[in-house]
């Protein structure tokens, strides 16, 4: 196999960083995604590449409290991947944070792997908080966790959850939104990957969900719209959530991240055809050349 397609050993710390420092991390995550999907020969490229910048800040900018060496640390914040098919980006972030060995990324979707095609808790990959993949459920799991933290354990811990935009067509997402607001879950940060793409095409053509900001506002959310590829903007979004959560504003937070599916790989960017396909070797090598 081409040397370029091997995983390098770099790990990143979860610490306060300047905006430009996230660039390197996001590139590393995108490179992992390309390598993993090439090796798996199936899986989703577009969404994970598009949300990599958000993951770089969330996992490595000290906005989420965790201990990679102690995944079930009682005081941790939790992350739920409601859009389970985005798992390559989560697997990369977990590996780069030191939850499990980076070389294991090569086993994505393979028989017996802890890196299942959609996150499966049963395989015991450290950092996987819930099995997800049937859209519209992870966000309700996150609401349950946030209720537990706020009302039962009465701690200051936070719950983060990513859904897609097409995923918002699932009615249960709005049941979750209703409950999050009803229970004033200011410890919940819901990230929507608003790339306006889903398998069949543009979200608005498949089933219009917009305007999203107004919908969430009317549901009682503190709505933050950010450019999901601008680190200053992403940092500011997570800062706002952290501050509001500390202040206990009594409202859940949604960060609507404006992103491009397949971001930073020229032939994939903003192309819904790359929702559910992996690159072949030639495409992978071109992508890796671009990701530097």
């Amino acid at each position: 196999m081409n040397e370029l397609l091997k995983f390098d050993e770099k790990l990143f710390k979860n610490q306060k960083r300047k905006a430009q420092e996230f660039e390197e991390i996001a590139i590393e995550i995108r490179r992992d995604i390309i390598k993993m999907l090439f090796q798996a020969k199936s899986g989703h490229s577009g969404g994970p590449l598009g949300i990599a910048d958000i993951f770089a800040v969330l996992f490595f900018g000290a906005y989420m409290n965790y201990k990679a060496e102690e995944p079930s640390w009682k005081e941790r914040d939790r992350f739920i991947l409601s859009s389970g098919h985005y798992c390559p980006v989560l697997y990369s972030a977990l590996a780069r944070a030191g939850f499990y060995p980076v070389e294991e990324m090569a086993t994505l979707r393979k028989f017996g792997s802890r890196l299942q095609g959609h996150p499966g808790r049963d395989m015991g990959l450290p950092g996987i908080e819930a099995s997800t993949g049937s859209l519209g459920q992870g966000i309700s799991i996150a609401v349950g966790m946030a209720i537990s933290d706020k009302y039962l354990d009465k701690n200051e811990q936070k719950v983060f959850c990513l859904t897609g935009d097409g995923e918002l067509q699932e009615g249960s997402c709005w049941e979750a939104a209703m409950a999050a607001s009803n229970y004033k879950l200011d410890n919940l940060c819901w990230i929507v990957d608003n790339n306006d793409c889903q398998i069949d095409g543009r979200v608005q053509d498949v089933m219009n969900i917009y305007p999203l900001d107004e919908k969430f506002k009317s549901f009682g959310f503190n709505v933050i719209v950010c450019d999901g590829h601008n680190f200053e903007d992403i940092i500011s979004a997570f800062e706002q959530f952290s501050n509001n959560s500390k202040k206990k504003i009594g409202k859940p937070c949604v960060i609507i991240a404006e992103t491009k599916m397949g971001r930073a790989v020229s032939f994939m960017e903003d192309k819904h055809q790359w929702h559910g396909n992996p690159p072949n070797e030639e495409q992978a090598l071109i992508a890796l050349k671009e990701l530097k």
Binding site: S134, S140, I141, V143, G144, E175, M178
Partner: protein, 333 residues
């Protein structure tokens, strides 16, 4: 002689509701989610006693089921209850993935189950859910036979780890088990010894089976064993096979479709281990309708009469050992 006599009538949902309060006292981790109909499924008892551990989710069963998974993944022991018509089928996906695949310690109370819902009619008479639920990996599935057993079963699932579903009903039904009657998840109870035919029943059909056994003895000189098969999953293979070995023929009886229910589970065990003739009593591939519980049980063939006739047929088949081409839902009437 029957050692079980009628002690009165009470809905099984009271056993569920009262048990939740006991569980609430037992552990602070026990929490309950409401789906608006708390006064019907009697999660209201818990709500009154432990308001800080009760969360109203509204008429949103899928959300409640999945929020329960989130609570369970946070170390809590969440119970959610709605009518089985919704708690099972509307939430099929959520139960499969968020609860069972996650192996989340979620407990579902499926209320208003079966034909005895009565006047509410077919829309609310859940008669199919066991078929789907018993195919879910990791799920414990219980159908208690009376008020007291519903209480014991609810406490048992609350105190053991893992996803569980308990099915109970709306209307008052015979009470006959006692404090000292054994209850253990996965252990079917032989309520009456017998040697000619084994009647394996669950839910309200257990009382009917006991009455049928009396009639079989008195009118036909047939000795019927009666088994309360309250745990549909994990099913008690030993007790079922031993009953087949002893009686050489079986009748199953349940307030549920014949297709895919408890009887089907028994048939799988028997086919695998020691094939003997089986007759099935249950809903014969149809929806229910409005009426009083007794009228409906009569109309849809869920009484001791069908059990007796099926037992006679079962005994006949054991002796003749011939074949037929009857439909599975072709019940002797």
């Amino acid at each position: 002689m029957n050692q079980y006599t009628l002690l009165g009538k009470k809905p099984t949902r009271f056993g569920f509701g009262e048990a939740l309060v006991e569980l609430g006292e037992w552990s602070e981790n026990v929490v309950v989610l409401g789906g608006d109909i708390t006064g019907s499924v009697l999660t209201s008892f818990f709500k009154e006693k432990f308001p800080d551990r009760f969360f109203s989710i509204g008429i949103a069963e899928q959300n409640a089921t999945t929020i329960a998974a989130g609570l369970a993944l946070s170390g809590k022991i969440p119970f959610f209850s709605s009518y089985s018509a919704f708690a099972a089928f509307r939430c099929a996906d959520q139960l499969r993935l968020s609860v069972c695949y996650n192996e989340a310690n979620v407990k579902i109370g499926g209320g208003h189950s079966g034909i005895t819902v009565g006047p509410d009619g077919a829309t609310h008479q859940s008669l199919e859910e066991l078929s789907f639920l018993r195919s879910l990996p990791n799920l414990t599935l219980l159908v208690p036979c009376d008020y007291l057993e519903a209480k014991k079963a609810t406490i048992a699932i609350g105190k053991s780890f893992g996803p569980a579903y308990i099915r109970f009903g709306r209307s008052p039904v015979p009470m006959f088990t006692k404090e000292e009657t054994e209850f253990e998840i996965g252990r079917a109870n032989v309520l009456r010894k017998g040697s000619d035919v084994a009647i394996i029943a669950c839910g309200i059909m257990v009382w009917e089976a006991l009455q049928a056994a009396e009639e079989l003895q008195e009118k036909h000189g047939i000795s019927a064993m009666v088994i309360n098969n309250h745990t549909i999953k994990p099913i008690d293979v030993k007790t079922i096979v031993d009953a087949a070995l002893e009686c050489k023929t079986i009748v199953t009886a349940e307030e549920h479709q014949i297709y895919g229910g408890m009887g089907s589970a028994v048939a799988e065990v028997i086919a695998k281990n020691y094939p003997v003739p089986i007759e099935f009593v249950g809903m014969k591939d149809s929806f229910g309708g409005s009426g009083e519980p007794e009228e409906l049980m009569e109309k849809f063939g869920l009484t001791r009469r069908e059990i007796v006739l099926s037992a006679l047929e079962a005994v006949k088949r054991k002796k003749k050992n011939t074949h037929s081409y009857k439909n599975v839902v072709d019940v002797a009437v």
